[in-house]
């Protein structure tokens, strides 16, 4: 098969430039035996092929010429013009053929026709870490059927020209450079509970904590900030739950019973106020979080899901923690005695 797609388990860190950080990281996780749902990756060349095939280069460059990050109206106009043009352009046949084949393989392995998949953008290049910014990455959940998968892939590409994405690049003075992006297609977990965890406290910067946010249903509600999730801080060193806030989680996303997509539904009262994780669930998350962190050698921001029924835990995404708040009052390394002296206002530089 030619180079537009690759199964996730065949990817490693070195594939990041072609397939984007998300796909490359998932490949790394699979190699490290972290439970990750199976899937495949679409390379950034597929997007370039799409733009070239449809002859969109000129239209794009003229639309974004000279936009300012703070000019909300101009950004909106540019975004609208580009998105409209892209939405009517077809996914190149060669790409489509590969997608079709991989999608069929996922279905065969899972034993279902038209398996539900998540289609997500997978940012490429040095902005990969920055792409955490603003959740500036599209996610389409519970997508079923080849046609819908291809539509979702194209929607991911379109999202490169969403107003926040244009504004973000403008802020970096890169408004006019052509962006690149891969796409990840992954079998979906019908999550009973899902959420995000950081292998440090992102607010305080404490490296000895795992911070966990969890809510009912598919991950959209937490990531989209539509509910105030249950919030836990767990010690990596002892597994103690250092902080626990259970909130009202009155909505959740579930697979649309009509077949494709996820729908927002009300959570019944008796479940909405209940903690969605127990001690055991928290400990399993911390263990997986520590393994992922060890593998990558840095603090990780991990999206996870616990499957309905079996309760199996999956990691669906992992990336380095960015935008970590500056540590307050972090002492500079000094000798123990001079630190004690400063406690008493007798530091070497006076008080």
């Amino acid at each position: 098969m030619s180079g537009y797609t690759r199964p996730l388990q065949q990817l490693s860190r070195s594939d990041e430039p072609s397939f984007g950080g998300k796909s490359a990281n998932l490949g790394e996780l699979l190699a490290a035996d972290i439970p990750v749902p199976p899937g495949f990756a679409i390379s950034s060349t597929a997007f370039q092929e799409f733009v070239a095939d449809a002859g969109l280069e000129r239209r794009i460059s003229s639309a974004v010429a000279g936009v300012s990050a703070r000019d909300v109206d101009a950004i909106g106009r540019a975004s609208h013009a580009i998105s409209e043009a892209m939405r009517f352009a077809p996914v190149p046949d060669a790409v489509r053929a590969e997608v079709e084949q991989h999608y069929a393989q996922i279905g065969a392995a899972a034993g279902v026709d038209s398996p539900p998949v998540a289609v997500r953008s997978s940012a490429v290049g040095e902005d990969s870490a920055d792409a955490t910014f603003a959740g500036q990455q599209e996610t389409y959940l519970w997508v079923r059927g080849v046609q819908h998968v291809c539509d979702a892939v194209r929607d991911c590409w379109v999202s490169l020209y969403s107003p926040p994405a244009i504004s973000y690049r403008a802020r970096l003075d890169q408004a006019e450079e052509p962006p690149t992006m891969g796409v990840t297609v992954q079998l979906m977990v019908d999550a009973e509970v899902s959420g995000v965890m950081f292998t440090c406290n992102p607010v305080s910067g404490d490296p000895s904590m795992v911070a966990i946010n969890a809510s009912w249903g598919l991950g959209l509600a937490v990531v989209g900030g539509e509910v105030t999730p249950d919030d836990y801080l767990v010690s990596k060193v002892t597994g103690e739950v250092v902080r626990e806030h259970v909130h009202l989680k009155d909505v959740e996303y579930v697979p649309d019973p009509s077949g494709g997509g996820a729908v927002r539904v009300d959570v019944p009262a008796e479940r909405s106020e209940r903690a969605c994780l127990d001690q055991l669930g928290l400990l399993r998350l911390v263990e997986v979080g520590k393994r992922v962190e060890r593998h990558f050698g840095s603090h990780q921001d991990i999206e996870w899901a616990i499957a309905r029924g079996g309760g199996e835990l999956f990691v669906v995404q992992a990336r380095p923690v960015t935008g970590l708040a500056k540590r307050r009052d972090k002492p500079k390394p000094q000798s123990a005695m001079s630190l004690i002296m400063s406690t008493f206002g007798a530091g070497s530089k006076g008080s």
């Binding site: 990050a69 955490t132 406290n201 900030g225 972090k330 630190l339 004690i340 206002g345 006076g350």
Partner: protein, 607 residues
């Protein structure tokens, strides 16, 4: 305490606090210098005073004031005159409605601070370098002091002086001996407080520095873990219970365990044990460890009513009964010291591994220093606060009993309702009338005073003292205030806010920092064009579509969302304070209203 640019208003003036009804005259229980006196209003009113609720949670009985004077004399002497802690002299106290407020005396002159720093570095350095040896001497000193207290006799006043006074070498009469004993008792108390503070500042300082270092590197580390990494294994505080466990085992081995039945009093148990040989030898074994290990206090505090196990054996006997029944049920009751050591070393290693190399070095050095000083930090409580102090109060009770026998008091315990000067006065009159054979006035004078004071103390106990009085400091800089009482700038600001009573919303502290400014309430994404530079965004929640306005605003407040929600992530990215998940910010706040967002504490104050 630094009180640059005092802010008026947040806390009441000490001169405007009213006496609760029925407590008129409370001032008479306390020394003149302990009161907020009009003659020094100008200075006292312009200082920051906080309630020392840690040591003095209830109104002070008149005699117990000695446990304010003496420790503050001692702590000031070491801090200010021996070690010369550079920015802080000693601590002043004042009494309001029976409650104790304190305020540090800062050193502000930079030249003076530099001069003191030289003393401090030299003298504190000497203590840290020679700690184990000096601390060994300290223990010996404390044991000698406690022995002397035990040997101090409170003489009775005899009808006739014995022959030794008439014919012997020792020609002191009882009047002198009694007054001398009282004076000596007070001086022994002063000595204890002097010893108490010799190591305390430096010990707490080393431990506090380690704890602060941990909090700086690992902001969420539970205090418990810091303590666990440092805690001593074989310190005297654990011995009393260890002895009880040993005695429980002995009771089972010698077949007297049936005496330790649930619900029995210590007297019943002792009486039954005294009937058998095995029981008597168990009691003999108990007698051997009572001193010192039954000198544990039944409570933790500086008031006369905290007694020891010796005074009230119901607590150790309840433990004995529990240990015996646990052992008989086959339970393991020994303190798992090996496991504690393993866990303490594991915690230290794992936390150290999370730090970078330079920080790890400081961490390990501070940890070792803390482990060196910690035996003092743990043990001084046993030697000073429990062993010495419970016996010392009992010594004062002996004077009380004498006054009660002579009719000056209705009950020996009433001695604590008189100040130490009043007790001296009563003793003066007692020995005077004993000597002259005259009729003392004391029996008519003191009992009504005692009765009135008991009534006042009872009423004062219902009064709620404000956490602080006087002016609000810009910043708390006194290292002692921070180290010993945990009274930090943040704490004082929190108190001030509570006093101001402004509406406060709370949510998750999502991005640190404090910002004040005008609110802009935005209910949907199509209103984001209204946001002006410098405003604080108040909204339900945000999504990527809101990205363009984050470069305009100074802080974010949302109704829903956690610390990983979009608004929180972007706020951290931009370094803006954020409080998310407040539940009702868009309902409670109006556009244009001035608010304070504290993204470190998770609070939004409507100003």
């Amino acid at each position: 305490m630094a009180t640059t640019a005092p802010k008026a208003g947040a806390f009441p003036s000490p001169y405007e606090i009213e006496t609760p009804p029925g407590c008129e005259g409370w001032e008479e229980m306390y020394p003149y210098y302990a009161l907020f006196d009009e003659r020094r209003r100008e200075t006292d009113e312009n200082r920051f005073w906080f309630w020392n609720s840690m040591h003095f949670p209830v109104p002070m009985p008149a005699f117990d004031v000695i446990c304010i004077d003496s420790p503050y004399q001692a702590v000031g002497a070491w801090q200010n005159r021996v070690f010369a802690v550079p920015p802080a002299m000693g601590i002043d106290y004042r009494c309001v409605n029976g409650y104790i407020y304190i305020s540090g005396n800062p050193v502000t002159d930079p030249a003076k601070i530099a001069e003191r720093a030289e003393f401090f570095q030299q003298r504190a350095g000497y203590y840290f370098q020679n700690w184990p040896e000096l601390y060994g001497k300290w223990r010996a000193k404390m044991e000698a002091l406690i022995r002397e207290l035990g040997e101090l006799e409170v003489p009775d006043l005899p009808e006739y002086e014995p022959d030794e006074v008439a014919f012997g070498e020792n020609r002191n009469t009882a009047f002198y001996e009694l007054l001398n004993a009282y004076g000596r008792a007070l001086r022994l108390g002063d000595l204890m407080w002097q010893h108490h503070f010799e190591f305390l500042l430096l010990g707490y300082g080393a431990y506090g520095t380690f704890a602060e270092f941990c909090k700086g590197q690992l902001p969420d580390i539970p205090d418990q873990h810091v303590a666990q990494m440092v805690a001593g294994i074989d310190v005297i505080l654990f011995r009393p219970d260890a002895e009880l466990r040993r005695l429980a085992r002995l009771a089972i081995e010698t077949g007297v365990d049936a005496s330790f039945a649930q619900g029995r009093t210590p007297q019943e148990i002792d009486a039954e044990l005294a009937e058998s040989d095995a029981g008597r030898s168990w009691l003999a074994e108990l007698e051997k460890v009572k001193d010192p290990y039954f000198n544990m206090a039944t409570g933790d505090g500086l008031y006369h009513y905290y007694r020891s196990w010796l005074d009230d054996p119901s607590i150790p006997y309840a433990s004995l009964i529990g240990h015996v029944s646990a052992l008989k049920a086959g339970e393991q009751i020994d303190r798992p010291t090996e496991e504690i050591v393993r866990e303490r070393d594991r915690l230290a290693e794992e936390y150290a591994a999370l730090l970078d190399e330079d920080s790890r070095q400081s961490f390990n050095d501070l940890l070792n220093l803390s482990r060196m000083v910690f035996p003092y930090v743990e043990e001084h409580k046993f030697y000073c606060d429990y062993w010495f102090l419970t016996r010392w109060w009992n010594k004062i009770r002996e004077f009380g009993a004498l006054l009660a026998r002579s009719g000056f008091l209705e009950d020996g315990e009433d001695v604590f309702q008189l100040s130490r000067y009043e007790v001296a006065g009563a003793l003066d009159e007692l020995v005077l009338t004993w000597a002259t054979g005259g009729v003392p006035l004391g029996p008519k004078h003191w009992p009504p005073i005692v009765a009135r004071r008991k009534e006042i103390l009872k009423k004062l106990a219902d009064w709620t003292p404000p956490p602080a009085i006087g002016v609000t400091p810009e910043a708390v800089t006194d290292p002692m205030t921070i180290m010993l009482w945990g009274v930090t700038t943040e704490r004082v600001q929190e108190w001030a806010r509570q006093q101001e009573g402004g509406a406060v919303l709370t949510g998750a502290a999502a991005s640190p920092g404090v910002v004040e400014g005008e609110a802009r309430v935005v209910r949907s994404v199509d209103q984001i064009g209204d946001v002006r530079d410098g405003e604080i965004l108040v909204c339900g929640s945000t999504s990527p579509a809101w990205a363009p306005i984050f470069s305009k605003i100074t802080a974010t407040v949302t109704d829903v969302g956690g610390v990983m929600s979009h608004a929180a992530i972007v706020a951290r990215e931009y370094g803006l304070p954020a409080v998310v998940g407040t539940g009702r910010a868009t309902a409670a706040i109006r556009t244009g209203q001035t608010i304070r967002v504290d993204g470190s504490e998770g609070t939004v104050t409507l100003l």
